[in-house]
């Protein structure tokens, strides 16, 4: 291994690490606020990438249909509840958010997609299509389980992952996609050859992380999410409902996932089931942060990225084995440090 290769590997590792850092942020956020270990985070990544890829090919992405379908189910469920509780004044908003909006998006996609508009429009549309999936998923799968144990929520999350992967196959087909790079530039910095694409990915990730940091520190809604994570009961007592916090969190998670997917799409070929592994690596990072500490998770993400990069050079077949075996000592270390309250376990 000479310096050139090492630098190249480091660059790769950092680029991937940036993506894992984004995903780790989403995972830590979702867990802290809703206690859901959000296994399907990876599906937002693949959906984001594949939606963009569809648009690039001039096709209407299947995601638009998924939105309409899921929205329809929500309208049905919430509609029945509204009628039963005689709160009909809620109906207009439910219809607007879950039927009118998705159908409008479908129409928009149908009109825009064949025109193959500029990249940034495609990116915006891809985001618009994937982000609403977040709160919809929360409503359908997790809202009825607000008081369930972390374990039950985990199993539900795994089930959602299953369903989304299967749906991904239906909507996007079995072939992989790779979108064109955002930047073909290459810079010579001293001995290193730095690709513009890598800089773009790292830059975008950092920007997003900073933006989220400001959101959590400075805005009331951001603080309300932190409050829910710190003390759920206290949050309720100041009027922050679990539903509000959940929807907002899942929206952010979907946004982060979609952005990650769009960033990663030019770098690797994404298949309908690639998201899972990418998400899991974000997991390893999140667990290094104990699912609660973000700075540690970000550091962990860089570590995972570098580890993966260097192991793919030295022992490429065992790259995954190495990365995932890493989780175990980390889990052990984490578990010894935090003393879980046993009230979490089901009482019989």
């Amino acid at each position: 291994m000479n310096l050139d290769i090492a630098l190249l590997l480091t660059q790769d590792g950092l680029t991937n690490g940036a993506i894992y850092a984004l995903l780790a942020l989403a995972l830590v956020l979702v867990f802290a606020v809703t206690r859901v270990i959000f296994v399907p985070q990876g599906e937002f990544v693949s959906y984001g990438a594949l939606t963009l890829a569809s648009l690039q090919l001039g096709k209407v992405p299947g995601t638009a249909w998924l939105l309409v379908g899921a929205g329809g189910v929500i309208v049905l469920l919430d509609g029945i509840i509204a009628v039963r509780e005689r709160r009909l004044h809620r109906l207009p908003r439910v219809l607007l958010e879950n039927l009118v909006f998705p159908v409008a998006l479908l129409g928009l996609s149908g009109w825009l997609a064949p025109q193959k508009p500029a990249l940034w429009i495609q990116v915006a549309l891809a985001l618009a299509l994937v982000v609403p999936l977040g709160p919809m998923l929360y409503r359908l799968a997790f809202q009825p389980l607000q008081n369930a144990s972390v374990l039950v929520l985990l199993i539900v999350a795994v089930a959602v992952h299953f369903a989304l992967t299967g749906l991904g196959l239906v909507f996007f087909g079995a072939e992989g996609s790779r979108t064109p790079a955002f930047s073909d530039a290459r810079f010579e910095v001293g001995a290193m050859s730095v690709s513009g694409q890598s800089l773009f990915v790292i830059g975008a990730s950092v920007a997003l992380i900073v933006a989220l940091y400001l959101f959590f520190e400075k805005t009331v809604y951001g603080k309300s999410l932190r409050a829910t994570a710190v003390n759920r009961l206290g949050a309720r007592l100041v009027g922050i409902s679990a539903t509000l916090a959940g929807r907002l969190t899942f929206t952010l998670a979907a946004a982060i996932g979609a952005v990650s997917g769009i960033l990663v799409a030019p770098i690797t070929t994404i298949y309908y089931d690639s998201g899972f592994l990418i998400g899991l690596k974000g997991f390893v990072a999140a667990i290094i942060g104990g699912l609660v500490s973000y700075p540690l998770a970000a550091l962990g993400a860089v570590l995972v990225g570098l580890l993966e990069s260097f192991s793919s050079f030295w022992a490429s077949a065992f790259k995954e084995v190495i990365v995932f075996t890493l989780i175990i000592p980390v889990l052990l270390w984490r578990s010894l440090r935090t003393h879980h309250l046993e009230e979490e376990d089901e009482r019989e």
Partner: protein, 255 residues
């Protein structure tokens, strides 16, 4: 439930009315048919020994526990309203464990207290923050400190301040003296008495009967889930039956 913020609401005689409230934990009836009233602008206290069900009662009125019976807030039934909606309407609880956001600053805790008002994009929130700081100067000194690092008395003040940020019309306090040294307890109760002047109706639950009865207008005594005694606070303060309830002179389980 529509919120009536007009002058008409202020004319409602009873800020809070609890009728026939019963709470069961599985097989245990923690509260049996409790009736109480909080007239507008007054301080009502519920005292009683430990395990009597005082915290259960407040949690049920707040909507944190499923309960049978009815709760009316400013004349309107809120029995089927969610906790967060009750807060938004002006019914606030300062719970026994304070439930502060320990890892956030004092300032953030207070800001979040006004969350429903932020959602409604109301104005005047920064002014209210100043008013709270004026009432609790120690909080102003520590406003960038994390809530978890405050002393017991300061935490209680922060909890009170946070509740006040929502501009509640009925404030419920669960054992504000818990774990506090006598000097701080005195200060807290002075503040509670003062709150009445700003038009807030207060339902105060306390184990420290003497302090509570000194500051309240009317009192109820709760024992094993039932109201066993009630009356004007001054009368209760000198009633020997109260002492019996606390220290078991009544000999009910003598065999």
């Amino acid at each position: 439930m529509t919120t009536d913020r007009s002058a008409g609401a202020a004319a409602v005689a009873l800020a809070l009315e609890v009728t026939d409230l019963s709470v069961a934990y599985g097989k245990v009836e923690a509260l049996h048919h409790v009736n109480l009233k909080v007239p507008s602008g007054s301080i009502v206290t519920v005292i009683g020994p430990n395990g009597a069900g005082k915290t259960t009662m407040l949690n049920a009125v707040m909507g944190l526990l499923p309960a049978r019976g009815e709760v009316r807030y400013e004349g309107v039934s809120i029995t089927h309203t969610e906790v967060e909606a009750r807060v938004a309407h002006g019914l606030c609880l300062v719970p026994e464990r304070r439930e502060l956001f320990a890892e956030m600053t004092v300032a953030d805790n207070l800001t979040l207290g006004a969350f429903p008002r932020h959602r409604r994009r109301e104005r005047g929130i920064p002014d209210d923050l100043d008013a709270v700081y004026a009432r609790f100067p120690r909080l102003r000194e520590r406003r960038e400190q994390l809530a978890g690092t405050l002393s017991g008395g300061e935490r209680q003040m922060l909890a009170l301040g946070r509740a006040l940020m929502a501009r509640p019309r009925v404030l419920m306090l669960d054992e504000p003296s818990l774990g506090l040294a006598p000097l701080i307890v005195r200060e807290i109760f002075r503040i509670v008495a003062d709150l009445r002047r700003s038009g807030v109706s207060i339902l105060l639950v306390e184990q420290n009967a003497r302090a509570a009865l000194q500051v309240a207008d009317y009192g109820y005594v709760l024992e094993t889930g039932e109201i066993v005694l009630e009356g004007p606070a001054q009368a209760l303060a000198t009633d020997p039956k109260v002492v019996e309830t606390y220290l078991g002179f009544s000999g009910k389980t003598a065999v």
